[in-house]
């Protein structure tokens, strides 16, 4: 079973603060994704990556940056957190274009 680990599991941040969400996968998958899940909106793609050094914008990238320093690690960065970014964030990885996605356990972020 593919392993995707997210940290932290829960995070409380203040408005205007910087938040970094981390994701690590141990299955040598090329593709990695960051989603947020909100009631009424389902899962929405924020950023994704095809490999180390690459990041691409998803459907809702505003207010978020991503970093893929290695095959294993993919981070989501909120430079100036806002209350509207309160959500559950999921990281996922997949081996390629025809792929099954493997998800992490999620990070619950609350911005006060």
């Amino acid at each position: 079973e593919a392993a995707v680990t997210q940290s932290p599991r829960n995070k409380v941040a203040v408005t205007g603060g910087k938040v970094t969400l981390s994701c690590n996968q141990t299955n040598n998958h090329n593709n990695m994704y960051w989603y947020r899940q909100d009631t009424g909106h389902g899962l929405r793609l924020i950023h994704y990556s095809y490999g180390a050094g690459s990041t691409e914008k998803g459907d809702i990238p505003d207010g978020y940056k991503a970093s893929r320093p290695s095959q294993e690690n993919f981070s989501l960065i909120l430079e100036l957190a806002t209350p509207s970014q309160t959500s559950v964030y999921f990281c996922a990885s997949g081996p390629g274009s025809a792929e099954t996605l493997y998800f992490g356990s999620g990070t619950r972020l609350t911005v006060l």
């Binding site: 389902g42 899962l43 793609l45 999921f90 025809a98 099954t100 996605l101 998800f103 992490g104 356990s105």
Partner: protein, 109 residues
């Protein structure tokens, strides 16, 4: 706009009944996946079914590409099947993966 519609939004069953979940797409797709999520939990891939019929245990998925739809049949439901079932599709021309909002399934004894 690339969209995925799932129905029903919620479903309540008695244990051992069968369930039929539907997914329809606004554009043509070449990849369809079904996921399961417990409340507060991670998404777990159930079936990857780009076309035709695929079965895994009590789960059967049928995808009809030309009609832009997919279904998930759960036979002999169990209480532990309760949770949210999400459908996701990759647009044939966009390459973008989009999720539906899910069907919340509750199975009662």
């Amino acid at each position: 706009e690339q969209q995925v519609q799932q129905s029903p939004a919620s479903l309540v069953l008695q244990e051992a009944e069968n369930a039929e979940l539907q997914c329809s797409f606004s554009i043509f797709t070449n990849q369809v996946q079904w996921f399961y999520q417990r409340p507060g939990g991670r998404l777990v891939s159930l079936l990857y079914n780009p076309s035709g019929t695929k079965q895994s245990g009590r789960l059967t998925s049928t995808t009809v590409i030309k009609e832009r739809r997919s279904s998930l049949h759960i036979s002999s439901s169990q209480i532990t099947d309760s949770g949210t079932y999400l459908c996701a599709m990759t647009g044939a021309n966009t390459g973008k993966l989009t999720f539906g909002h899910g069907t919340i399934l509750r199975v009662h004894p």
